[in-house]
Symmetry: C2
Subunit: 290 residues, 2 copies
Amino acid sequence: MSFTVNKEIATFGGKLLKLSHESKATNTKMDVNVYLPAQYENDPSATKIPVLLYLSGLECTPNNASEKAFWQPFANKYGFAVVFPDTSPRGANVEGEDETWYLGTAASFYVDSTTSKWSKNYKMYSYINDELQSELASYLTKLDFNNISISGHSMGGYGALMIFLKNPSKYKTVSAFSPVANVHDNKWSELCFANYLGQEKSSWDQYDILKLIKSYNGPTPEILIHLGTKDPFLNELKSKLILDASKGTKFEGKVDYNFVEGYDHSYYYVSSFVDEHAKHHAKYLGLADN
Amino acid sequence: MSFTVNKEIATFGGKLLKLSHESKATNTKMDVNVYLPAQYENDPSATKIPVLLYLSGLECTPNNASEKAFWQPFANKYGFAVVFPDTSPRGANVEGEDETWYLGTAASFYVDSTTSKWSKNYKMYSYINDELQSELASYLTKLDFNNISISGHSMGGYGALMIFLKNPSKYKTVSAFSPVANVHDNKWSELCFANYLGQEKSSWDQYDILKLIKSYNGPTPEILIHLGTKDPFLNELKSKLILDASKGTKFEGKVDYNFVEGYDHSYYYVSSFVDEHAKHHAKYLGLADN
């Protein structure tokens, strides 16, 4: 299987590809945007371009972050690609998938569903962590999927941390904007997890970053986290629990947690700190600050 | 009259205000976004903050450019404010104002209408050039409306050039992304001008930048223009006519015209060159490049 190029857009010296492909993991067509820095086309020797996966939050398509988060100028400056996956399967025709803004469409929480109702399509963990990467590696051959890192916002900040922690050594580092910290105490994830994984809450633990951080046994880069003091979802997110959970683990002292004064939950906030996150990822992807 | 603050958003160190006010020029409520750089609040001595007016194109509200054009980090770096006005009155209830995407709502072409049908509301030239500035000067008293410049995109690129050329000495400089050049040979402006100014085409000349540039008698800063080679509207825009029209005028050699390879008409394109435009405006607004 390969990709359809729906649009190719020159931006910030490089190129944004709006792609779609048929996913075996989700049994649906999936959209994904990929930003290629200038050297992807211009530098014949550039065959090992690092990749950042950026997971968006509830309600987003791949286009929101592509348009408003402003990763592109920094990706082009440092020389990494950015992959913007979708936030769920779409059009899977699962009953109720479009009824609640934090369940179903655009609300996958990046897990692999095990329930009969959702499991045919809602396999976003496998999609993001395996299928999408191997498909893109075959299609965009100058990208180096052995040198990757991961970031995300809100539900996607949770997804980035969860996927990083479940795969020691796979991702060079992780960062998150306003991540959902506790899937056992969050009305969004509680509804999703009950649907995708069932009522037995112990089955949720495999995706619980507050537990995963304690059992993690792998390299420990710094983890960069931002959260705005005026985030309207502070009570759902509880992002600081990640810093607290790192105490006594290999990540103690490695969580760079920033509670930034006055900022909210929007892309106006995310874009304001993308430069710092880009610098963080560039460092761990082995790219010089120029 | 004053402004209602609908939202105040921390972004890139400064603050984006989403304002609305009752306009005497348009007889409607008007929305306007204003980005204030950090020193507006943080520097007690900053009482003379320069202002850039940014006029958006067809179909836009003040929010599109605020979210996608990426002026804010550069405005904050150099220390100027950015005013994002709306592109027309809204809800004026003029018959037909919502029927065609390039007539009426979001398609004012920034002129003062003289026809009985439109002239009660479609007075955007007076609104942008006079009323909005004096109202904002009273409301945001640290802004210096004696040190202003103007830019815009598409219809707004036309508007910026037209307003600059009609007001020698008022604006320190002007720049434009993909401006409509010839209002006498453009299906969008032809429909709008016939409606707003009447069928007598000589009445359009007062807003014709290709004529205004020839009669202009004032200071001549450089004019910065970008246009993408893959702009789908090349045949409507004909932006290069502005460079051609400058020959033999005071602006000969002063039009920095850039026909940029591969770029389209979207905010992906605009945002890619906003850094150059910001630097251009900062220079003429007397702000150091830091």
